[in-house]
Symmetry: C4
Subunit: 210 residues, 4 copies
Amino acid sequence: MDSGRLEAFSDGVFAVAITLLALDLAVPRPGNGALTHLLAGRWPSYVAYAVSFAAIGVIWVNHHSVFRNVTEIDRPTLYLNLLLLFFVVAIPFATATVAAYLRDSRYSGDTTAAVLYQCVFEGMSLAFGLLFWRVVKYGRLTVPLSEADRKRAFIRFSIGNLGYIAAIGVAFVSAPASLIIAGLVAVYYTFEQTPVAAAAPAAPDPDDDQ
Amino acid sequence: MDSGRLEAFSDGVFAVAITLLALDLAVPRPGNGALTHLLAGRWPSYVAYAVSFAAIGVIWVNHHSVFRNVTEIDRPTLYLNLLLLFFVVAIPFATATVAAYLRDSRYSGDTTAAVLYQCVFEGMSLAFGLLFWRVVKYGRLTVPLSEADRKRAFIRFSIGNLGYIAAIGVAFVSAPASLIIAGLVAVYYTFEQTPVAAAAPAAPDPDDDQ
Amino acid sequence: MDSGRLEAFSDGVFAVAITLLALDLAVPRPGNGALTHLLAGRWPSYVAYAVSFAAIGVIWVNHHSVFRNVTEIDRPTLYLNLLLLFFVVAIPFATATVAAYLRDSRYSGDTTAAVLYQCVFEGMSLAFGLLFWRVVKYGRLTVPLSEADRKRAFIRFSIGNLGYIAAIGVAFVSAPASLIIAGLVAVYYTFEQTPVAAAAPAAPDPDDDQ
Amino acid sequence: MDSGRLEAFSDGVFAVAITLLALDLAVPRPGNGALTHLLAGRWPSYVAYAVSFAAIGVIWVNHHSVFRNVTEIDRPTLYLNLLLLFFVVAIPFATATVAAYLRDSRYSGDTTAAVLYQCVFEGMSLAFGLLFWRVVKYGRLTVPLSEADRKRAFIRFSIGNLGYIAAIGVAFVSAPASLIIAGLVAVYYTFEQTPVAAAAPAAPDPDDDQ
């Protein structure tokens, strides 16, 4: 099965999810106070919007990086991709929740909200790790990897996971700090961490043991 | 007419519908109780989200399976595909309704909501069956099927229908149980039930053991 | 400029607009009466949903029919396509409005709502007529049409317009009757009314005078 | 990296953002006054909808113009494209806010709302300028530009920026006037302002000094 339609469908889901993030920016109707104050009071929404936008954007870039080196996929890959999207689609909900509870310091839910937020990202990260492993192991790659390279690729790709686990722990202490960690993980993935892709431009290696 | 744009449009609709499912996860604004309680009390939303996400995901996988073996379609196929999408698009509404009524045990609408939910799936299933039949019978397939194979394919593909009919009946007794049945039907369709697709890779290479 | 990306973008807009239609199906939260009653009382929403879904679906089919016979388009075509989408995107709003005012007979806005609804469709129809004319006249077609064929094609394609004009008039008398007319126009366009497409399968005619 | 998936993802985001604009057209439920009055009182929403629709539409046309002349892109281009989308996705929010505050003259937020609106567009414009520069400088173009042509192209493309800066200033004096300026900038970009594209149809120039 070629990966074209998997990419098209995933792009659609990424596009809708990233656009829905902005729905939470909406300010209350006129008559609820000065607009300047209303906007200023919503800074957690902007931070959460920026972090989640960056995260989904980077997930998309890496998804693109992985699949452009794959010429053929199987049915389990489609399901692992759906598992990834299952968590991606929950990101706007988690983002809106953490923003709402950070905004209103009268209520104590910010810890719970931040834990929820980081758990959604951890779930996404685990699903992406599984998907990556499946693709590298069973997909037909344009540039096949050796067993050792595959392991190295998997570790390098999955290590961001530890960032989200750390962020879950930090969330119990400080919700804003955990958001910063999530932002830093996005920065890590900004750089090329998908060695399938990195290997691609290199000439096909004769002693590659695929 | 080639099926490329039918697939692109359908992918768009599937992507939006699957993402809109998550809108129902939203929790009440701060000030309505402890967030942990709010989240815990919304378990029917998570179950309904998971079942409907799996269902739409599996519909997408099968849609993909069917159409990648079709090189040419006609106008009635476009309309049958629209009929399928007509029901797919109603899934987020049915999901939100069943979740809302399962959540709040003070009200008795859960039976009605579950029947509605299963009827939307039954409609989807009938439309998909018709679409499948049309494609297998009139579409230009990459690997044409014999009359007998076509019948077998149709029966195997349509049998999930019975699951939804059973679920409608069960919904009158227990709404949660009917959700479980819908989940089981999704599991059935997780496996290859579209023999057009199954037949396709068979032909070419005799010693292909990949 | 090839028409691929115009089609991809339009498909995205059609897909989102057709899915947003279903948002209006949402019933009130539990505690506002028996669900069976709530659902039954919302029949105008179902009728409006069905008519608008059919209309957008048929617009998509015809859009597809027109553009699959076009190999090259110019910048004004992109803008006329945007004008078409401008009205398509307003359909969910017009649909929700007409449904809300038909639902509640205590208020008299149903005439206004139905006129608004039909005006959106008339605008869509005019924009599609202009787009069709531009494509047939200046686009590079796979099967070029003679001047006479072009005129005939334009008239045949644009005649649905009269249906919407009639529907605007009827809306002043009866809102439900005007919805029926809109539905009938959708039925008219269900059949092939885009002779560019119809001409395509025929072998290139030697005495074609383009 | 070829630009196909960047375009597909961007098209998805543009399509969702342009469709979400129409959500703000929704009128209050029946029982809040005569529908004709309700509709008439919402003219700022229609103006804002039209201006923002035109703006996103024109951004899409230019995005298309730029990328159809690019055969190969790099990772930073993906991120600059995400930065552009970051602002595009905020347009429905900014549009709804300016419409809400223009609608209700009892409240004074219209200046703030208009400044916010223009700042989102200025951000979009800066991001698009950066993206354009990156593509022209480092992308593999179908028709490479000379250093002088590149500079000229960049200036011609970026000059709309000044329009948005002017609009920010004007917003402090008159919110409606600043909307008109934003509309005029959209008109400017309606015409071909992406000389990469303009150069493309010309035959490859032998003394092109790329």
